[in-house]
């Protein structure tokens, strides 16, 4: 392992993008929007450069040590989008009048359409441009910031693992290609290009999950991920076709501004279009029933899980649904589109079910990454619930409540992305160091050659003293996910739960289901996140390996520290600036609000019922869940171990609530069913092996034996009959003469008869 603190001098190439962007900022006549094309272009150009030079210089010392097998190129290429997006945000945050559009290729393809009256409608186009509004700004920042940080992290995580040697260029190339897809999707100004980049991300997800392509499990997981999302994507495609049919365009500006929204739209068609698009979102964001791919996707390298399967790509589905919200919002005093209530209810229900299901499966997972995967699924489901509630509220003319639900959902997306990206990186740090420690021991005593899983939390425990930075980061991240008051996710989660209940209180009984589910899930989140932390960091070490763990891999700490700070403070800071209203489009800029006002708003809402809900949530998630987890898994460190002051209080506290034995519970059939992921994967496998596979074999058989068989029958029958006819040729001259004579005679007779 390269262990030097002087590696930062390798970052010198980063000066180039900084200089470039600074030059652009200073240069007259260029504004941030013009530069937005750089966000997509820079990773797109870096992709072939890294891939091809990696193929050529593989094994070269300079390539390996100075360029980190392409890592430095990737980081530089990702710094440009980050700087440009910060520039764009700086330009737009104070004054967006709703949205702005920049055009790149206005007519990507041009065509005509035959109208009902047999006239060709000229000049239809499917173009591409940039759409910037508050959601775009938020997401482009999340995407570019996390891409940059996680790429940085990868240089530590990937390059120090000997198994990756001479393969990392593939990782970095696919990584930047993914970044291109994500940036493009966020910026696209129409649904077609949103879909195009969406699919590019799907491809990269496939490639990166299958990074360890020789592992059967990884290859299978990659295939599963691609195919499952593909099912959703196909429905999304149909949804887009319907949408195009309704509006004759797929551009946001046309669709959202269309006056026909005021009630003349065929609402059945619109409902189906949006529902099918939602199915696509379900696939991409791993919601029930297309959620099966996400846990398996953890086969990929941990940075991939952090970036794609926690922080960015899985948000694509949410982004799509967020783009569906304007269909029901046209301002105050509008009565909504008939039928779209059902859409909101469906989305909320899917969200509620997934949140609850994923949280309960997370209870029994022992793989640290699997816990986080199910947690991701569950948190995304929260956001879906919030969006569903927002759609319902908007559509029923509850504009104010709708904006809170919508804004809180988007804000939760931000908080969750930051926290979960960081949690995955922290788990990567844990896995990496445990793995490394294991290899270390393994070298010393050869006889201990048993199977060891560095991701299994049952091999950990007591790591708080060994990995202080990681432990702190993970604690803050977990708190943000749980929603401990004042930290990160609290500010958004409260809003989602409250508004889901609010839509129930506004006399929609069907909303009770999701409302109860998300409330319960809040408590469950408190349990499984705390369980993960306690199992990993608190208590006595559960295996020998733990004693050899050290936190000394380069490049890993910086992203953790930065994201820890963001997770801890961004929630309250942004709330102070009214981010919820801004994201929901209610106000066009961030403006500072009094701290007292904000706190009051969060803890003592005017509506008494909502206040009860809020406090129940806090009670469940911050007190019941963690305490129960500490009773099962908590405990102080060994006496000779010390942890830093940020986490020692928690470690010590976790031992104070007594001990509870759950071995009986963990052997119950319910726990077993949860271990088996509620048998949903098995059911799909069974279904496919019973329907698709036999039918394909039947088709192949049918083609070979029936269709080609008929052709072959024609062939063989004609050969047979020609064999029969052939017998006439005896080869004897006499017979031929006879035939000639008879033939001549008959011709004469015929001619004679004809002449009569």
């Amino acid at each position: 392992m390269v262990n030097s603190t002087n590696e930062y001098n390798l970052l010198a190439p980063l000066l180039f993008p900084i200089a470039l962007i600074l030059g652009l900022v200073i240069a007259p006549g260029i504004n941030s929007s013009d530069a937005s094309i750089l966000i997509v272009l820079s990773p797109l150009v870096a992709f072939p450069i890294i891939l091809i030079s990696g193929q050529i210089y593989n094994g070269n010392d300079k390539w390996k040590n100075n360029l980190k097998e392409g890592g430095i190129i990737a980081v530089s290429a990702l710094l440009i989008p980050l700087l440009v997006s910060i520039w764009i945000i700086g330009d737009n945050i104070s004054h967006t009048d709703g949205h702005s559009i920049i055009t790149w290729l206005s007519d990507w393809i041009e065509f005509q359409v035959l109208e009902e009256n047999y006239v060709l409608d000229q000049g239809r186009t499917l173009g591409i441009g940039v759409w910037i509004d508050s959601i775009t700004l938020m997401l482009i920042f999340v995407a570019s910031f996390l891409c940059f940080l996680i790429c940085w992290f990868s240089m530590g995580y990937m390059n120090t693992d000997p198994i990756n040697e001479n393969r990392n260029h593939r990782f970095y190339a696919e990584f930047v290609l993914f970044a291109m897809g994500m940036f493009g999707m966020v910026l696209a100004d129409n649904f077609l290009w949103l879909f195009i980049f969406w699919e590019i991300m799907g491809l990269c997800s496939y490639l990166l999950i299958g990074f360890y392509f020789w592992k059967e499990s990884a290859a299978k997981a990659a295939k599963k991920a691609f195919l499952t999302t593909r099912v959703g994507d196909v429905f999304l495609m149909i949804g887009l076709f319907i949408l195009y049919d309704i509006y004759d365009s797929l551009e946001f500006s046309v669709i959202f501004d269309d006056p026909s929204l005021q009630g003349t739209v065929d609402s059945t068609k619109l409902f189906w279009a949006l529902l099918l698009m939602f199915v696509g979102a379900v696939g991409k964001s791993a919601q029930f029933p297309l959620h099966v791919w996400l846990p398996d996707a953890m086969e990929g390298p941990t940075p991939v899980s952090a970036l794609i399967h926690a922080a960015t790509m899985v948000n694509a589905g949410l982004y799509l649904v967020a783009r569906m919200v304007p269909f029901v919002v046209t301002g105050d005093g509008y009565n909504g589109v008939e039928g779209l209530d059902d859409l909101g209810l469906i989305i909320a229900w899917i969200g509620g079910i997934t949140a609850f299901m994923a949280a309960s499966i997370a209870f029994v997972q022992n793989d640290i990454k699997k816990v986080l995967a199910y947690s991701t699924m569950s948190q995304l489901a929260y956001i879906f619930t919030g969006l569903g509630a927002a759609i319902w509220l908007y559509n029923n003319n509850h504009y104010y409540a709708g904006t809170i639900a919508f804004g809180a959902s988007m804000f939760h997306l931000f908080n969750h992305a930051m926290a979960k990206g960081m949690l995955f990186m922290a788990s990567g740090s844990v896995i990496h160091e445990v793995h490394h420690a294991h290899d270390h021991i393994h070298h010393e005593n050869e006889d201990s050659d048993h199977h060891f899983d560095p991701q299994d939390m049952r091999n950990m425990g007591g790591l708080a003293s060994k990995l202080p930075i990681t432990a702190t980061a993970m604690m803050i991240g977990s708190m943000s996910i749980i929603g401990i008051p004042l930290i990160g996710g609290f500010w958004s989660k409260e809003g989602i739960i409250a508004e889901t209940w609010a839509s129930f209180f506004y006399s929609e009984p069907i909303m009770l289901g999701p409302a109860i589910l998300v409330l319960l899930t809040a408590g469950m989140t408190g349990f499984y996140m705390s369980r993960m932390w306690f199992m990993t960091f608190a208590g006595a070490p559960k295996s020998e390996v733990v004693n050899h763990v050290k936190e000394n891999t380069p490049w890993i700490k910086e992203p953790l520290v930065i994201l820890t700070l963001i997770s801890a403070f961004s929630g309250i800071l942004l709330s102070l600036f009214g981010v919820v209203d801004y994201l929901a489009g209610k106000s066009d800029h961030l403006s500072y609000k009094e701290i007292i006002y904000t706190l009051e708003h969060a803890f003592i809402p005017e509506d008494g019922k909502l206040m009860i809900i809020g406090w129940t949530t806090m009670f469940l998630s911050s007190i019941i869940g963690p305490i129960y987890a500490s009773r099962v898994h908590g405990g102080p460190l060994n006496d000779d171990q010390k942890s830093n002051f940020l986490i020692s209080w928690l470690v010590n506290l976790s031992g104070k609530f007594g001990k509870q034995d759950v071995s009986d519970l963990s052997k119950s059939s319910l726990a077993n069913a949860l271990q088996e992921r509620l048998y949903i994967d098995d059911f799909y496998d069974w279904l496919i092996s019973k329907t698709v596979i036999p039918f394909s074999h039947f088709s192949a058989w049918f083609d070979k034996n029936i269709i080609d068989g008929i052709i072959k029958q024609i062939e063989s029958r004609s050969i047979l009959s020609s064999l029969q006819i052939r017998k006439i040729t005896t080869g004897k001259a006499r017979d031929y003469i006879l035939m000639t004579a008879v033939g001549m005679l008959s011709i004469f007779i015929l001619a004679w008869g004809a002449s009569r």
Partner: protein, 100 residues
């Protein structure tokens, strides 16, 4: 004056004998002779027609036909000889390599 139809009748009889002989006999030489007989039947018809119409071309045709028949017989006999040398028989029953 002999009626042309009589000569034509003779031609038909000769042709019939030649035809029957050609596919009833096994011996290749006899068959060859029968073919000659058929040719000559045709020649006879030519000659009689030429006489009847006073046209020379019939005689010319006959002369050419006889010349060609001579050449043909020469080739036919050569084939038979080579057949005899390879198969040691000139029976037509044996000559069926064109079969199927």
């Amino acid at each position: 004056m002999i009626e042309p139809s009589w000569i034509a009748g003779l031609g038909v009889i000769l042709f019939g004998i030649g035809l029957l002989g050609a596919f009833l006999h096994k011996n290749a030489i006899v068959v060859l002779m029968c073919i000659e007989l058929m040719l000559n039947a045709a020649n006879l018809n030519f000659v009689s027609a030429a006489m009847h119409y006073g046209d020379v071309s019939g005689w010319v045709f006959t002369a050419i036909a006889i010349a060609i028949a001579a050449a043909e017989v020469a080739i036919g006999l050569a084939i038979l000889l080579s057949m005899y040398s390879t198969q040691e028989t000139i029976s037509l029953e044996a000559a069926d390599i064109l079969k199927n």
